[in-house]
Symmetry: C2
Subunit: 135 residues, 2 copies
């Protein structure tokens, strides 16, 4: 996604386009490894300081509220973030912890009417655990 599109996306959601917001969102868009806040901050501020920790937290929360970013919970203690909003599943290597996206179409669609009575399912995610290619 290029510069103008990113700015457009932010404006569409009614957000002011600040350097910090642009940096966080653009960065997340070009990563697919679901970084933690710590990793995001390290990358952004690698050369010159771009954003403080508090702002990154605030920005992620804002982006989450407007639906540009999602939180991924696959590990105890830390939240990871993902700008890929299309439905997809996750693979987690039990040795190195690396997380890989699995296309939604990799598995046949589930029938959510097969749930226990009283539960109305709307969406689902499959989490697969195993060993990745590098381990």
């Amino acid at each position: 996604m290029k510069r103008e599109e990113i700015i457009e996306k932010l404006k569409e959601k009614g957000l002011r386009v600040t350097p910090q917001r642009y940096a966080v969102y653009a960065h997340l868009l070009q990563r697919n490894d679901h970084p933690t806040v710590e990793q995001i901050m390290a990358s952004l501020n690698q050369e010159v300081p771009v954003s403080s920790q508090a702002t990154i937290y605030a920005t992620l929360q804002t982006l989450r509220e407007v639906g540009l970013v999602r939180e991924v919970l696959l590990e105890e203690g830390v939240s990871r973030y993902d700008a890929n909003m299309q439905p997809h599943h996750h693979f987690r290597c039990r040795l190195c912890g690396k997380i890989t996206d699995i296309p939604f179409a990799a598995f046949p669609p589930l029938d959510l009417t097969a749930l226990p009575p009283g539960l109305r399912g709307e969406r689902y995610e499959i989490i697969v655990e195993g060993i990745c290619d590098r381990c």
Copy 2:
């Protein structure tokens, strides 16, 4: 599961049977709502003090290490615990947050060889989000 069976389970795993351990494990066995540490502590110490917070954390970690209890991550910020060690899926109500078990057999088994190349899947869990009967 009755008293003697619980004690036997703990001994089988090489654990000393203390009142605190018995209380935490027995309590988890009779709940199916995946309580947080805070909830476990509140229930146990409702009438008389049974166990301190530090001990509950230590106990849960021990029970997890020997395979009598598992940690469930479905929410940001808190860990939940589950003494049901049989494979099963989870349903989470997006309104009240309540978590319900879904029997493993509710969905047809997935073919884990359909993963992207290089990934060797070993186990999986399905997380369904929706609305529960009380909401």
